[in-house]
């Protein structure tokens, strides 16, 4: 009978709940921290958040970001302050979606969406330019022809948190800042990691944001 033993699993599985989906017609819910392609955010007044500081490019382990800064034109500034991101490109053939760029950005200009399904037919499409990355007037990502979107996909942004402290203490959260943003207003930040529940969350005793 031994050779039939293997079929036990097969038959057993027939009556279990199905885990596969009819992808791409149907998509699964993505985890909170899922990292998709980036967007470049704007402030509520429409100004771009990116100041062209190249910190994201500097930190990127895949070296896939190319940023150039330039003087903000005085009459029609692109971003608040002296400098704005004049060139911004991300090469999605290289990006590993580690989100270090998001961590590095001092202005929350770059965040990730949950969009990841691309079907490029040439390499230059894979290099997203600033025009493609920057959010539209509603604050939502702009659909590119090669991206697979279902209704509502664009509303899901990646979980963002900044729970880092210079001391590197993971339980340290301090004040989470999130400046007002086109389409989202002031977004609720994700809280830090839960450690031992019995431990106090903020070791330095400082209050969280509220």
């Amino acid at each position: 009978m031994g050779y039939l033993d293997g079929f036990k699993i097969t038959f057993g599985k027939l009556f279990e709940e199905r885990v596969t989906t009819e992808y791409p017609k149907e998509k699964r819910e993505k985890p909170d921290r899922f990292h998709g392609r980036h967007v470049l955010n704007r402030y509520e007044d429409g100004m771009e958040k990116c100041i062209g500081c190249e910190l994201c490019a500097g930190v990127c382990p895949a070296k896939c970001i190319y940023v150039r800064g330039a003087d903000n034109p005085e009459e029609a500034p692109v971003s608040p302050g002296e400098r704005y991101g004049f060139v911004y490109e991300i090469n999605y053939l290289r990006c590993i979606h580690c989100d270090l760029c998001v961590e590095a950005c001092p202005t929350e200009a770059i965040t990730e969406s949950k969009l990841f399904e691309f079907s490029f037919d040439n390499r230059s499409d894979a290099i997203y330019t600033k025009d493609e990355l920057v959010v539209d007037d509603q604050g939502l990502p702009q659909k590119q022809p090669w991206e697979l979107w279902h209704v509502g996909d664009d509303l899901k942004t990646s979980g963002w948190m900044r729970a880092t402290a210079s001391s590197g203490n993971p339980a340290y959260e301090n004040r989470v800042g999130w400046s007002g943003e086109l389409g989202y207003g002031v977004r609720e930040p994700e809280r830090g990691q839960q450690f031992d529940e019995s431990e106090p969350q903020n070791l330095d005793g400082k209050d969280d944001q509220d």
Binding site: G52, C53, E54, G58, G69, D71, T107, S166
Partner: protein, 811 residues
Amino acid sequence: MPDSQPNAVSVTINGTQIEAEAGELVIAAADRNGVHIPRFCYHERMSSVGMCRMCLVEVDTGRGPMLQPSCMISVTDGMIVDTESDQTKRAQEGILEFLLINHPLDCPVCDKGGECPLQDQTVAYGPGESRFIEEKRHYEKPIPISDLVHLDRERCILCDRCTRFADEVAGDPLIQFTERGNETQVLTFPNEPFSSYFSGNTVQICPVGALTAAPYRFKARPWDLEQVESTCTTCSVGCRVAVQSSRNELVRYLGVDIDPVNHGWLCDKGRFDFEAIKSPNRLETPLIRDPNDKDQLIETTWGAALAASADAIKEARSGKIGVIGGSRLTNEDAYAWAKLAGSVIGTNNVDAQLGDGLPGKVVLGLPGATIDEACSADTVLVIGPDLKEELPILHLRLRGAAKKKKVKVVEITPLQTGVSSYAHRSIVCRSGEAAKTLKSLLTSDDELSQEIRSGSVVVILGRSSLAESALPAIEVASVITEELPKAKFLVALRRGNVRGAIDMGLSPGLLPGRVPLENPNDEIKKIWAKVPTVEGLDTAGMLRAAADGQLDVLILVGADPLVDFPDQDLANRGLRGAKFVVAIDNFPTLSVANADVVLPATAYGEKGGTTTNIEGRVSRLAQLVTSPSAARDDWMIASELAWRLGGDLKFSSMEEIWSEIEQVAPSHNGITLEKIWADETRDGILITETSIQLAIEPSGETPVVDGYGLRLISGRKLYDAGTQTSNCASLSALAQDAELRVNPTELERLGIQDGSEVTIISTKATGVAIAIADESIPRGTAVLPFNNPGIRANLFINSELPVTDIRIETR
């Protein structure tokens, strides 16, 4: 430092006993022993001021430990220094917290971010957290304090480095602290920009991003820069630089501190002229004269351009070929061209100078001095061009030495120069008559004459005016060799690697390695297919021959005689008279437009090799970026041409050329590639050996001016209409329009209004310029910059005469 010196003291730093020199600053002694004390205001090339207090350390001189600024106190015997004590740390944290109170933390948009001493030291020594939550002090964000430098007063930490530099080193005290207390700020004087030739240095030494350079503003961040160390070839001082690029584009040069040459400083022209290299005006493809329209140059292939050039050379009558230029080249390039001319074409008609220097034999025959020797001699005689305009860092070194009373600078000049401000004596003589003045000074019983005779003398010798021929300068040399036989010379030639090109034999009568043509060495006879025996023509000679139809092919290697040769009329006739002109250049210059074939060459930063400065110091050039076009290295062009002419230069890389130079050139024997690339050779390798015997020919007479004449004096300005400068967006705007400066009494005599247009008349040409009355100009002379926008002085100059006189008339 010195163990057995009498003034050595012994100090304990962090528990380790070290030897120091009495009088040495604690911070310097610590540096020398590998102990880093944080600092903002201390700079080893400037005096200490103790402004920032970042360098506080605990010092015990027997009275118990006390906090002391280590940049202000000197070591004493038995001193105990602790740079890591709790007290020291507390002080460092306190100072940093204090400095950051009003600091804007613009780091993400600050050009200094990523290489900022304030950032770095805050991370290393700071308290880690700020207690300051109040509103910070605000100023208008960057204000331009000159065309090249922006000042952001919010970021300034008042370290006094920039202001000290401007006053102490540059001698242009145009920025100062103003206001008091919390309002203290660096500012320029009203309506007076910080227009110093050295302003870029303040950007480099500012320990924060308060001073930023307009040409680098937002161009890159430190983490995307690539860097190599190289040598500046903008002028022939040969300052050490760090060349930085981002994405294959040059974006910044920084001065590198080497003792014998630049002490870390650069002039602004050298610092910012990288813009020319990425200029859209660069020549990108070979050009050839359109067969259908002789007025047009059209694009062609390298093959066709080289073939046409080779054919023209082959067809030329023997000996009727000339090569002008070479100071833009590396030593290797220059050698390749010297070999092409000598060994393949068989001519000695080569000249790296454009009739604006001194004969190669004089340059190599005079006993040479180094910059250091000049800065430590008892007397420095400056008889030549305005060093501030032409060799700015030499001027800075000399000024520093004069201010520290290390040398006595005596200047003989036809008009006030940048040197006059610190000269012990500035003797104004008539243009062309320096030798006479010098002779009468030295033979007089003037106290100065005794002082000059009794000590060591270095002569900085060059052409005081390009309206003079080389003769007056040669006369000076002959007076000196006669009167002061022990004096040494620093020959003030201006162009990049002109000295290297002469060393490599690109000068009539010379062979590579400072060897006279009459007496070739054995190696060259072995390695070269043939060695020319007849002394060739210099640039003036070649142009004259070409004008007379006596030269068939003229090859311009990075030379623009129409603009740079002192006599434009002759240059013009020469270029037109030559049957075929080949121009190898980076830019479409005026002369290039007159060529039959144009070959684009790679530029600075696009090729490696070596260069030689005015002292004869060979130092490395490094390649960092690739050429944006089909341009080729000059030595490759020489090799290709040689091959097409049926010769073979027998090298296929820069390294191979150097190895051949090392063999062929006696002065360069033993300087192997390994030596050149060794770390210790950062300072360069000084070559003093020469086989040239100086024979100064007796001079002619300086003609007398006619009663109505004004003697023309013409020198170059740092920012002029030269190719390099005019292709730099930031620098070209700084070139002032050419004006004719004349003493007011002369204008009065001629009935000319100050600021009005006048007609300039010389034997060569008539032209129009604005006449400006200027008290500082001696009577009987008129000063016109050599090559500034508007009108060029070389229109009027007659290179056949020792001096040029002009007349001016109202219009």
